[in-house]
Symmetry: C2
Subunit: 679 residues, 2 copies
């Protein structure tokens, strides 16, 4: 990969190109009366060096498959990115810069993918951008191994990430750099904005790391420290980084936060507030910048413009791809399908057959984690884009599948042992999904969704197709005790906007949940699975109802009016069915059981359908071995929830279920009491 | 600190002492048919070297103030700890070992503080134990600086931690080691069980770090790698570690997981399942171990027994403390109070006066984050045990207070800049609280409670007095956008059993929340505070009602029956009050406003009191700028919740409040509709 632009970087033009970023950032923050000027000012030369010389992109087409990926991990420096996108020719007009941080603008406070052309991931929560970048670089490496052929390097791009001290203090950075170093992601290059300042002041008081040594300890190539305002030094370092094939590279750029802001540069004061009119005037004078706010001199516009270079780059790749398609038509078609994120044409029919077959083959109690593995065994051959994995719990999560090939530092595959890194795994999966071409899923114990929670949220915010496999989903896991037993996790994950949470009851529901999660194109899903075996409760014919998220699993006997409804999920559906049977047999009470594996899907059904499943007039009891509060919206004040609102204990699972009142007797009592009260 | 025990370690006795641990672990796991034999077997010699020679403890008194702290960060190795506690003479009889992992035993699957004498913290969620240990070592250092006097080192103990590969893969380990290294916590010594195996197999595939280099990069003294089964080498390394004063030490112990299990040792197979009867028989033969399960030969019992040495140690300290008390009676009394965790005798009265004064001085709108700082200014002088801090957001969280002194590597104080390490901060605070003598609080943005979530949960599980200050508590924070705007966080934190969440509406409620959080002795609290200014709504006379968690803030005019109730919290209480005023004035609808700063406290009130505040028969509307689901339990199906169940946007706060329907008009419409429906 050669230098992409011949504009001189170290002369006056290069300096003024950096000042263009500075002034746009400062003026936009001032106009918004909100934002972070210090980081864009400090990283301006880093931006020039990378974007004007090395970044292989095409501003006219932010979706070009083989573009370099750029991640601004310190997302509060958003004005740096907006300035770069605007100046190099993305569809981000100056009017949007003027409307920085305003309602409906394309320039929100932190970069948001899908909102702004050229933004590759949503950043702001520190450290995650770096992990996203690791995911992108991983995806590139795996796709290159899968699709490239002799003479046809159709997947051959770098992932660049800018990051700051804050990213490196966050623990997730260690998870990301350790994994990247171990996997030898040689096309990942990080530029560290080493300005020595964070919000509380000089980082020496709380961040004494020898960062280069830390990265070297994790297998990275480290360049620098160098003067992060020296364009020639930056240019040389980037060139040097691109020569390394088998290690990710960190370039340590010593910078001054708020560089140019006389009297304020180098202090935390310039981090997160407008400089103020007087300081901006002084800055203009200091830089010799005569253009008014939001105006860019013509020579700088021309120097920055990357559209023709970008068009030429993509044209070269298009020609390569055309030759590739001629030589390898099936591979090329598959590559294009994968880039579109479309499932195979035969998927729907094949998946439905697989679900049917799984349901029919399921004749005895099975843990839903095992049912999940059986579903993967059946579905994975249909989806070569699957990239499975686990945070070091493969044998417990049962996330591996027949024929899966483990990714190693030297070998591509479709299954990754992420190590004990739940948060890193989730954020890396986000990066893989954002890159495109692969469909990531990963497992851990449900309780440790706490560790990865913000990355799950980010997947939802970014509407990424990522599947989380959370096993050991209640006190039913038994002896590992309260540190491992989820109580509030199911209810609390259901609160994340846009996350579909599935808690299936048996093999059929598990298979349907997988299919729904894999088909979903607008967000992540979580599959919440039992450690312990669960009875078969559903029938293959109900599979369309299962997909609706909540359905009548068993109703009152024909001709008898329903007197009460029991809603249940997962491991408690069998309990509900037993209570229903005994209430009918022993007391003549006619009960409907509604299985509700996914409340989000149920809530999205038409109201009349919801009311038909859960008639508002009927006494309703919900049963779930988790925190009860989420169910009140279905049971109302007059209903009841059999749940658990305290921490568990260490004991065999069946003993705990009994101990904490998850018994048919308790469910029956709740129903009986509600039926009596409703008369 | 000299060697504490003269038993030879490297002869046959030492080896058999280690085998005692092995056999207890293996037999207990086998009997439970559940558990983790591999780690206790691999760490047996580490246990012998530390516990039989260096640990300064008193088995008869697990609460001795100056005992060394021991943390088993890889908590799944619980049988190692139970064996050590049993053998050295803690109140943990063999019957409890036999009942490993059974309901009601003192030997749960993972160690739980308060349940088992001698267990210093609850571990299992990996990485957090190390961070707890950093908190303990920090507490020791700060208390030593505060209480020790020339010739009276009454606080002078070490913190020891055993940890495994899993702990080091977790990102929180980096947050902990970076902070410990920066703060030069020289009395912290970690022994790393470097066995090269995690659940997915050989860690080389996912954990390629040069761990010694990583720790050195973070300012640690590193010893080894050494043979972790060589007692003499371990003994020498520990001695060497205790000679270092200004750096924490890592001792890298190369071990074999499941050491002694012929044919299985050194593999992931021995990690998490019983060895099986045949393998145990082979192990017995291999070790030459003839005692039956759960029996310890007399000579080994004698060699292990640490009661007399422990009694002598504490007697020495007791004598020292008696002299100290004679020389410094006030300090000694203060030390004893702090050790008990009792607040000062004058606290209750002084705190109440402070609350009154704060409420009376509050005459104009104030952000509750600022009200929190004012409360701290008033309350901190009453509580020298306070240790404040922030995850690098001091100026935003306003967690610093008048006269607070920043902790630096070379200087003690009562305020800590934790760096951008939310999870690490929360787990370090847990360690500080567990150590005793200090009362930690720390701040970050509410959204980033996602990062620290499992440590908040652990504080609740361990019933520790820790206060989380979460500012920027809704879309009202404005321009930073959806990555920073909490939606589901308030509702989801309320689901953590045992956590009190306070979302106060004004200065009085904020002050009461602080007092309640500081007074609480059985668990953590979270204060959820606004970035933006909020109007004064409450009156000083209502402060006792505020403490009940929910109360009638404003009622229907005298003589007029209440037609509807609006429940609100925090920034929406002002909105509720405006809706109430206008409904009365414009439509003659009599509305009660209930302010509910803490649902947990409200739910703990007597039922008749709750019903008096929230009459079940009245139409009820809840208003909170967060996810609505949690409120359904109060509003029922017939009520309404004005909330937000989607992600926010980047724009000025007032524009967002309007955009997302947090307006008096919307609240009025909801009330009007419910009142009409109830007729």
């Amino acid at each position: 990969m050669t230098t992409q632009n011949t504009a001189p970087l170290d002369g006056a033009l290069g300096r003024r190109m950096a000042d263009t970023i500075r002034m746009l950032a400062v003026d936009a923050v001032q106009q918004a009366n909100s934002g972070h000027p210090g980081a864009p000012m400090g990283m301006a030369e880093m931006g020039v060096a990378l974007w004007a010389r090395h970044l292989r992109h095409n501003p006219a087409n932010p979706h070009w498959a083989d573009r370099d990926r750029f991640v601004l991990s310190n997302g509060h420096a958003s004005m740096l990115l907006y300035a770069l996108l605007h100046l190099t020719g993305y569809d981000l007009p100056m009017d949007e810069i003027r409307r920085f941080r305003q309602l409906g603008s394309k320039t929100p406070g932190h970069p948001e993918v899908h909102l702004t052309p050229g933004v590759e991931t949503t950043t702001g929560p520190l450290g995650q951008g770096l992990a996203n970048a690791v995911g992108m670089a991983l995806a590139e490496k795996l796709l290159a191994a899968e699709f490239n052929r002799e003479g046809f390097p159709i997947v051959d791009h770098r992932t660049w990430v800018f990051l700051g001290d804050g990213c490196l203090m966050e623990g997730i950075s260690q998870e990301a750099i350790s994994l990247a170093g171990t996997l030898k992601l040689g096309k990942l290059v990080a530029l560290y904005d080493d300005n020595g300042i964070s919000i509380d002041g000089d980082v020496a008081g709380w961040f004494g790391d020898d960062t280069p040594a830390r990265f070297r300890a994790c297998g990275w190539n480290v360049i620098g420290p160098l003067d992060g305002h020296d364009l020639a030094a930056l240019d040389a370092a980037i060139t040097q980084a691109t020569a390394v094939q088998d290690q990710p590279t960190l370039i340590v750029c010593r910078t001054t936060i708020g560089k140019g802001a006389i009297g304020q540069e180098g202090t935390a004061d310039v981090h997160g507030a407008p400089l103020g009119a007087a300081a901006i005037a002084a800055l203009r004078q200091h830089l010799g910048w005569t253009a008014p706010p939001f105006e860019v001199p013509d020579d700088l516009r021309a120097a920055w413009n990357g559209r023709s270079a970008g068009a030429a780059r993509q044209a070269g790749w298009d020609a390569l791809f055309a030759r590739y398609a001629a030589a390898h038509p099936a591979l090329a078609a598959e590559f294009q399908r994968r880039q579109r994120g479309a499932l195979p044409a035969a998927w729907a029919a094949q998946a439905d057959l697989a679900v049917m077959a799984l349901a029919e083959a399921s004749t005895k109690p099975v843990a839903t984690r095992r049912a999940s593995q059986l579903a993967l065994d059946a579905l994975a051959p249909l989806l070569p884009e699957l990239l499975g994995g686990s945070a070091d719990l493969t044998g417990s999560n049962l996330t591996n599948f027949a024929g899966c090939r483990t990714v190693t530092p030297g070998q591509a595959g479709n299954y990754l042992s992420y190590g004990v890194r739940e948060f890193g795994m989730a954020a890396v999966m986000n990066g893989v999904a954002l890159h495109g071409g692969l469909l990531p899923f990963g497992g851990t114990f449900l309780t440790f969704s706490d560790y990865s929670r913000n990355a799950i949220r980010m997947a939802a915010l970014m509407q990424q197709r990522v599947v989380h496999v959370f096993t050991h989903d209640s006190i039913g896991l038994g002896e590992d005790g309260p540190t491992h037993q989820p109580i509030e996790q199911v209810a609390s994950l259901r609160l994340i906007p846009g996350l579909d949470l599935w808690r299936p009851a048996d093999a059929l529901e598990t298979a349907v949940a997988w299919v729904q999660a894999l088909q979903r194109t607008d967000g992540p899903s979580a599959l919440v699975l039992s450690r312990q075996a669960l009875p078969i409760v559903s029938r293959p014919a109900q599979r369309a109802d299962v997909a609706r998220g909540g359905y009548v699993l068993a109703d009152a006997p024909a001709g008898q009016p329903v007197q009460a409804v029991i809603i249940a999920t997962g491991s408690e559906v069998g309990l509900a069915m037993e209570a229903r049977r005994r209430l009918q047999a022993e007391e003549g009470i006619a009960v409907r059981v509604v299985s509700m594996p996914c409340t989000q899907r149920f809530d999205a059904q038409p109201a009349d359908w919801c009311d038909a499943v859960l008639p508002p007039s009927l006494p309703t009891v919900a049963v779930e071995a988790g925190h009860p509060d989420g169910w009140r919206r279905y049971t109302g004040r007059s209903g009841a929830v059999v749940g658990i609102a305290r921490f568990g204990e260490s004991a065999p699972g069946p003993a705990l279920m009994q101990h904490f009142g998850f018994t048919a007797d308790a469910v029956m009592a709740a129903v009986r009491q509600r039926v009596a009260a409703s008369h």
